[in-house]
């Protein structure tokens, strides 16, 4: 199962880095959101630790939707999803492969957004420990996001308005389970609190990442069944 998932993720990333269709949209979108937030606070005293977490997670979630939608939409449009279904092994390998490729793509955009935030919000990280702590929160939040988002993207793939369906299905599920703890933890970390101070938020992110991924592995076969 792991081997098939890795092959699918590798193929998806190869296709994406070759065409850059989704990546370019995500990068453009993320820089626009960061700049919009920066301009909104250009006439007032800017407190990056207050504004940046919201700006970052709005960017991550909305740019992440591009990656989640593209993963299955491309397969559906080219009818190659049938070819994946014809491969042996568990159906959940397809889910894991798609989840992994989306995770890598979104993390790349998040790193870019974090750098853009630091530049435009004139924020200096206190040190590697603070940067690493923010990175841990980003990774855990993203894991839960792609965990449930990949499953819902597979559901949305077969609907007529798949671009609309994905956010409608996804956002209510992640508001309190991913966005709230992730934004809170990011805000506190940017306010120079330590990672131990946000352990409650981190536990929540880990729990929901596990719950979403395990549930998706169990449900994926049913979701794609004709």
């Amino acid at each position: 199962m792991a081997s098939m998932a890795l092959q699918i993720a590798r193929k998806d990333l190869l296709v994406e880095f070759r065409t850059k269709r989704t990546l370019n949209s995500m990068l453009l979108f993320s820089i626009l959101v960061i700049l919009a937030f920066r301009f909104a606070f250009s006439t007032t005293k800017l407190d990056a630790a207050v504004v940046a977490p919201a700006a970052l997670w709005i960017t991550f979630i909305l740019a992440g939707m591009f990656a989640l939608s593209a993963g299955f939409a491309r397969e559906k449009d080219q009818d190659t999803f049938q070819a994946l279904l014809l491969c042996p092994g568990k159906r959940s390998s397809i889910y894991l492969g798609k989840m992994l490729s989306s995770f890598v793509l979104i993390m790349l955009v998040e790193l870019f957004s974090l750098a853009a935030m630091a530049v435009f919000f004139e924020y200096d990280f206190a040190g590697p420990a603070q940067f690493a702590s923010v990175l841990v929160v980003m990774m855990l939040g993203t894991l839960g996001f792609v965990g449930v988002g990949t499953l819902l993207s597979a559901i949305a793939m077969n609907t007529q308005m798949r671009e609309v369906m994905l956010p409608v299905l996804l956002l209510p599920l992640i508001v309190f389970t991913i966005i709230m703890p992730a934004v809170t933890a990011t805000s506190r970390l940017l306010n120079n609190e330590s990672i131990l101070d946000v352990s409650a938020e981190i536990r929540l992110l880990i729990t929901f990442a596990i719950v979403y991924i395990v549930a998706a592995i169990m449900l994926f076969g049913y979701v794609i069944e004709e």
Partner: protein
């Protein structure tokens, strides 16, 4: 090799397959004819484990359709009128990807890819992305994709659609080679002449049921057409 008993499929109230019984012996080539909506593609999709039957049973290469779908997928190769290949990947990258998905690796995969590129006459296009290939070339890649893991059974859904004579001849030669090595072929087609020429058994599927099975030996195209037309008019041959 393929045993189908009482296979039925409903989409809502619409009965697409209505108790299909069919046995396809190992090493045989069976062509399935029928008008649009007769249930041909649904039958093939069920055998390919892409769709679940509403009732009935089937085995492919001795594996039960519902209990051992994964094993069936190892035994079958599927070629449709849609090539099921990635436009952004090269010909060789497509074959390597699908080879790895079937557990091939290293020298075995290298050899298999080289052999298929050569057999299909596409070695000179191996580094081209498939999005720039002609329909016939794409279909050759699709055949190579379906054969990469050395399947025992080939399931074909209108594989000749849109092919030029050269690509069609390569497909025919490949199918004959496959059969001569003991492979089993089930081909859905509207082309009565092609089916009669290639197959050693003709099956007529009408309104979700097997209406008639015919041995094509000595059967002329006109006779084949007469059978088809009479079944289509409900005279049952």
């Amino acid at each position: 090799m393929i045993e189908i008993k009482g296979l039925a499929k409903r989409f809502g109230n619409r009965k697409v397959l209505d108790g299909v019984d069919l046995a396809v012996p190992a090493g045989s080539f069976t062509a399935v004819f029928g008008p649009n909506g007769a249930g041909k593609t649904t039958l093939l999709r069920i055998l390919a484990t892409l769709s679940l039957p509403t009732s009935g049973t089937a085995t492919v290469d001795g594996h039960d359709l519902l209990a051992e779908a994964g094993e069936i997928r190892k035994s079958i190769g599927v070629v449709s009128h849609n090539p099921y290949i990635y436009a952004e990947l090269t010909v060789e990258e497509n074959l390597r990807f699908f080879g790895r998905m079937f557990g091939l690796d290293g020298r075995e995969l290298d050899g298999r890819v080289r052999a298929l590129l050569s057999d299909m006459g596409i070695a000179h296009r191996s580094r081209d992305r498939t999005e720039i290939l002609s329909r016939g070339m794409k279909q050759r890649v699709a055949i190579a994709r379906a054969l990469i893991h050395r399947p025992k059974v080939l399931l074909l859904d209108e594989p000749h659609v849109g092919l030029d004579p050269k690509a069609s001849a390569i497909l025919d030669r490949t199918l004959r080679d496959f059969k001569s090595k003991g492979g089993t072929v089930l081909m859905i087609t509207h082309d009565l002449a092609k089916g009669r020429e290639m197959a050693d058994r003709l099956v007529f599927l009408f309104r979700g049921r097997i209406a008639r099975e015919v041995d094509p030996a000595g059967l002329e195209d006109t006779a084949c057409r007469l059978i088809y037309d009479s079944l289509a008019e409900g005279k049952n041959g």
